[in-house]
Amino acid sequence: MSLSRAFFAVIRRDLVLALRHRSEIANPLLFFILVITLFPLGIGAQPHLLQAIAPGIIWVSALLAAMLSLDNLFRSDFDDGSLEQMLLSPHPTTVLVLAKIIAHWLVTGLPLLIVAPLLAVFLGMPNHSLGILLLTLLLGTPVLSLIGAVGVALTVGLRRGGMILSLLVLPLYVPVLIFAGNAVQMAGSGLPVDAQINILIAILLMALVLAPLPVAAALKMSIH
């Protein structure tokens, strides 16, 4: 099998698996919506306050939802041994791992983009910043999946990896949160956000190139 065929076969397989277990798609999405609903309840329903912190709320919730969904990335493959088979295949692990991460993002990251505008309207965000919000989510959530994959690959062999995973992954999410949240905030005030968007693109490209390397190394270590 050629490399590109193997790459698309892995994506296809993961997508089919996710469609068979629909809860895998629905859970992070519901979590995302629920957390955002909790904020107005916790801090009060003043429209100005909500509008001011809406970009932060949406991004922090997206971060948490992305982190919660990470466990699905390698867990079931690790348990049933197909991950081991993948590592044994003649194709470079980095490429196959990238395929898995892309499939994971299509299942857990992309749905966030679809509901985010609705929630933004709930929180009273100005209409002209919705486009930027979607753009930052489009550029930022794949980075969350890529960086998160490093954390999952390191902890997939552990029985209780959940708590430690957040400690590993969340500090590394900081740059994405800063630039994405800031871009949406600035766009709300009608300021140019080219710089933030360019940096997000740079981070995404860097993560796309670099992240599969430690993921592959960590998976080999976890399987050993």
Partner: protein
């Protein structure tokens, strides 16, 4: 390798052998302690007694003799950890792995000390224990990165595997630290212009600078002592079934 003189290469080859490392660091330790005590005594005397009081901050500025070296060490140790981890990953040198993991708690402590001393200084100077200043925030995130390393090492039972996991994490972290640092800096400067927290780089007087540099050297030696001490115990623990450890224990009985 051909650029490095033979004795140096031989030194490193021998240092990679656990018994030799253990014996050598055991002999080195008293010297390190003596140098550390001397440098610390001179540095503290210079900093707390000889250096003049600051014309604005009075005596409270003297916390920099602890605070600044700690902050320097916090970054320095993370880099050492990542480099040692990379050496361990690439050449499978057990001792490099041990050095990497022995550095983590010390680095975390220095980060914590830098944060606490900064906070203690910030209360009288800025009027608040904590501000979301770029430096403070990136130091806090550095502390989380250290805790992640320590937590991951503790969570994996097989310590050989744990060391490799830690090395991978430290390398990922070391790539991220500059990005985090600059993003935090940018975040802050975008949010608010120069405030109390944004000081011009003070041109420090020589009588204050020399004790500061001495304290930086002293902290390096402290790190070396603490790290080697941890590495030696970790080595004994891992090699407890090796013949050289058994010989050593039966000799000392």
């Amino acid at each position: 390798m051909f650029l490095i003189p033979d004795p140096v290469v031989r030194f490193f080859h021998r240092m990679a052998s656990p018994p030799h490392f253990y014996a050598f660091t055991g002999r080195l330790m008293p010297w390190l302690v003596v140098i550390f005590l001397l440098v610390t005594a001179v540095g503290l005397y210079g900093g707390l007694y000889l250096a003049p009081a600051d014309y604005q901050q009075g005596d409270s500025y003297r916390i920099i003799y602890i605070h600044v070296p700690s902050a320097w060490m916090s970054l320095f140790i993370y880099v050492v950890m990542a480099v040692a981890g990379a050496i361990g990953l690439i050449w499978r040198i057990k001792l490099a792995e041990i050095v990497a993991i022995s550095s983590a708690p010390i680095g975390a402590s220095f980060t914590f000390i830098a944060l606490v001393t900064g906070s203690l200084w910030g209360k009288p100077m800025w009027g608040t224990w904590w501000v979301w200043d770029a430096r403070l925030t990136s130091e806090l995130i550095l502390l989380f990165l250290y805790l992640g390393v320590i937590g991951l090492y503790g969570a994996i039972d097989d310590k050989r595997i744990a060391s490799r996991a830690v090395a991978i994490l430290a390398l990922v972290g070391v790539v991220n630290i500059p990005i985090i640092h600059y993003s935090v800096e940018w975040w802050n400067t975008l949010h608010q212009g120069p405030t109390v927290t944004k000081m011009d780089k003070p041109s420090i007087h020589v009588s204050m600078l020399i004790p500061l540099l001495l304290m930086a050297v002293s902290f390096k030696f402290y790190y070396l002592i603490a790290m080697l001490q941890r590495a030696r115990t970790e080595l004994l623990l891992r090699e407890r079934n090796a013949q050289w450890v058994k010989n050593m224990v039966s000799e000392s009985k």
